[in-house]
């Protein structure tokens, strides 16, 4: 039963710390079930905009980035644009969930991981978040109580989350340790 191919979306990025776990999960799943269909979701402002191109999986880049901190003009413009980008990205995400029709959506953190997880929750698709850091990021704190499962790296993280969680320990990066 557990060798049947599955379709999944893995959303995450911004920095290598959120992106490489996504690649590690994809590579490990493909080793176990080679005909699984995997689609990555990231932000066009993150490191993944470049790194996805070197992968064989299909991908979607959302036009979304975090809030600008401080009072500079750039931050101000970024924050004014945020609701527009959020809505546009959410519509794109919903369309992707409809057309790709995943069995599960995985979030590995970073601002592009929140919307696919939120869309999957709204559609009743199973969801899993992988939280790498001892203090959970925004997406994890926002959505942990509504996803099916959260995998964490540090026991400490449990203190910040209401939900009962799996303990995954540290994941290795996908950067070819051969």
């Amino acid at each position: 039963m557990q060798n049947k191919s599955i379709k999944l979306i893995i959303a995450g990025g911004g920095t290598g710390g959120h992106l490489f776990p996504a690649f590690a999960i994809a590579d490990t799943l493909k080793k176990r079930i080679s005909d699984s269909a995997i689609h990555f979701v990231g932000s066009k402002f993150g490191i993944e905009a470049d790194k996805f191109k070197s992968r064989e999986e299909s991908f979607t880049l959302l036009n979304i980035r975090g809030f600008g901190r401080g009072l500079s003009i750039t931050s101000l413009i970024r924050n004014i644009l945020f609701p527009l980008r959020f809505m546009g990205s959410y519509i794109k995400t919903r369309r992707l969930l409809r057309t790709f029709s995943p069995d599960i959506v995985i979030g590995t953190g970073g601002y592009a991981s929140g919307l696919p997880i939120l869309g999957a929750i709204h559609k009743g698709i199973p969801t899993l978040i992988h939280e790498q850091n001892s203090f959970p990021g925004f997406t994890t704190r926002w959505l942990a109580s509504r996803v099916y499962r959260v995998c964490i790296s540090y026991h400490d993280t449990e203190r910040y989350l209401k939900k009962k969680i799996s303990f995954s320990r540290e994941i290795q990066s996908a950067r070819n340790y051969r």
Partner: protein, 192 residues
């Protein structure tokens, strides 16, 4: 990846110590500045060699060091981190969770300088877990001077026994099967 293969990839000399510097995928201005200011002594006098991931934004400003010292291998981003770790006698890094997982997995002694601006100062918490295991030395960026930085690097590299202890401690906290654990969780959710 073995050490000699990794060394030839970066064109470094096996007879002198090697430090790999990782400021995260975006690079760390603080670590880059600290290393830049210490190079005259560390590279010039002690003949330490560096594999240095600067981050794409800082790369151009630091590129002149590569022509000044033949012992520096400078990169905006390193895709084959396995070689960069395999070559290293010591790793100097920020303390993002994945960097620490990689350091533990590769069994490398590390000098960690957590980014205090990270949410809830979580990098310090990440770093303390490796320090507690005896695998790392944690330096706080608020109090760190060039002199202290140089002292810690010199001290560590001259103590082979301590480095081996730290390597073993790093390996002991590594969990190489984590990706499989996550995939187990995924399959359980899909098939339940």
């Amino acid at each position: 990846m073995n050490r000699s293969k990794a060394l030839s990839k970066f064109q470094l000399d096996p007879d002198h110590p090697i430090i790999t510097i990782i400021g995260g995928s975006q690079g760390s201005l603080f670590i880059n500045s600290m290393v830049s200011e210490s190079l005259d002594y560390l590279a010039g006098k002690l003949n330490i060699q560096f594999i240095w991931q600067t981050g794409p934004t800082h790369f151009d400003d630091l590129q002149h060091f590569e022509s000044k010292y033949s012992s520096i291998s400078l990169h905006p981003f390193i895709d084959h981190m396995d070689s960069a770790y395999a070559a290293a006698d010591l790793v100097i890094s920020r303390a993002g969770a994945i960097a620490l997982s990689e350091i533990a997995y590769c069994g490398k002694p590390s000098l960690l300088i957590p980014f205090h601006g990270a949410a809830a100062d979580h990098q310090t918490k990440n770093a303390r877990s490796l320090e507690k295991a005896g695998a790392a030395i944690v330096l706080s960026e608020n109090k760190l001077t060039k002199e202290r930085f140089i002292h810690e690097v010199e001290q560590l590299l001259s103590d082979r026994e301590k480095l081996v202890e730290m390597e073993n401690a790093a390996r002991s906290v590594s969990t190489p099967d984590a990706a499989n654990t996550i995939v187990d969780n995924i399959l359980e959710l899909v098939y339940q």
